[in-house]
């Protein structure tokens, strides 16, 4: 049974620890994801955390809170955070709220 409409997986890469999120990010799904991502951050203390948001189909302001919370935690441990390939709905949310100016966004070309 699919319990959550939001899925995420972790990949260690030379650029940093990548968290690839797909599906819907709301207050409900963000709270579970937040616990797991923070556990991994504390355990591995990566210097760079990359949130890959190319497969996010829905995101409300709880997603902004999730991003800014991880941003703060990465700074706390002396690291940094960037968003990779935000999907159109994520990008719309970021530009509408001005949060696109607050976090680093990396757009890579992919087929």
């Amino acid at each position: 049974m699919i319990k959550s409409n939001c899925r995420y997986r972790f990949t260690a890469t030379p650029e940093g620890l990548v968290v690839s999120v797909s599906g819907e990010i709301d207050h409900h799904s963000a709270s579970g994801m937040r616990r797991e991502v923070d556990n991994i951050i504390w355990n591995r203390t990566p210097t760079h955390l990359i949130l890959d948001m190319s497969e996010v189909e829905f995101m409300d302001s709880s997603g902004l809170g999730f991003i800014m919370g991880r941003y703060a935690l990465m700074r706390e441990i002396g690291g940094s955070l960037s968003l990779r390939n935000p999907s159109p709905v994520v990008m719309k949310m970021l530009t509408m709220t001005g949060f696109d100016k607050k976090v680093r966004i990396i757009n890579t070309v992919f087929n």
Partner: protein, 158 residues
């Protein structure tokens, strides 16, 4: 008759469909509310981007009930949707929770009373951005009602 009833005000397009839904403020019902609204509004033939805007605005209003209106209990959230023939969607989200003492303050970008949690304080800003008009009425200790209106563009199949 209609003209008489509406007096000098511009005549509103008639309501062609409406629904009411009461559900408990469990956070898992945030996605349920979005899906229910999406299915109901589908009859007006919204574009994908209109639908996603409306779902996002609704999600903000419903989440505020879950998080703020009923902070330490499960209360009832009422969702009402009215559709007008001209493609106007009217969403009302009502709670009987703690209420908002200063609505103007609550609407300010980045304002949140949830400093301990992880809220960005952008919920009302997002609701405003994704709708044509927003109406908030609230009484401390009694509850809050948020009404969002968005007119769909383009040709309706009706």
């Amino acid at each position: 008759m209609k003209d008489k009833k509406h007096g000098g005000r511009p005549r509103l397009s008639p309501i062609c469909n409406e629904m009411k839904l009461d559900f408990p403020s469990h956070s898992k019902n945030e996605s349920f509310a979005r899906a229910a609204a999406g299915a109901f509004i589908a009859s007006l033939d919204p574009t994908a981007s209109e639908l996603s805007d409306i779902k996002c605005a609704l999600s903000e209003a419903v989440t505020n009930c879950t998080v703020h209106a009923y902070p330490d209990k499960i209360g009832t959230i009422r969702l009402e949707i009215k559709l007008r023939e001209d493609g106007t969607v009217i969403l009302t989200v009502k709670d009987k929770g703690v209420g908002i003492s200063d609505i103007a303050k609550a609407r300010e970008p980045l304002f949140t009373t949830d400093a301990a949690g992880e809220r960005s304080g952008m919920g009302f800003t997002v609701m405003e951005g994704f709708s044509d008009s927003i109406k908030i009425s609230s009484k401390p200790g009694k509850g809050t009602t948020v009404t969002l209106t968005r007119k769909l563009s383009g040709k309706r199949t009706s």
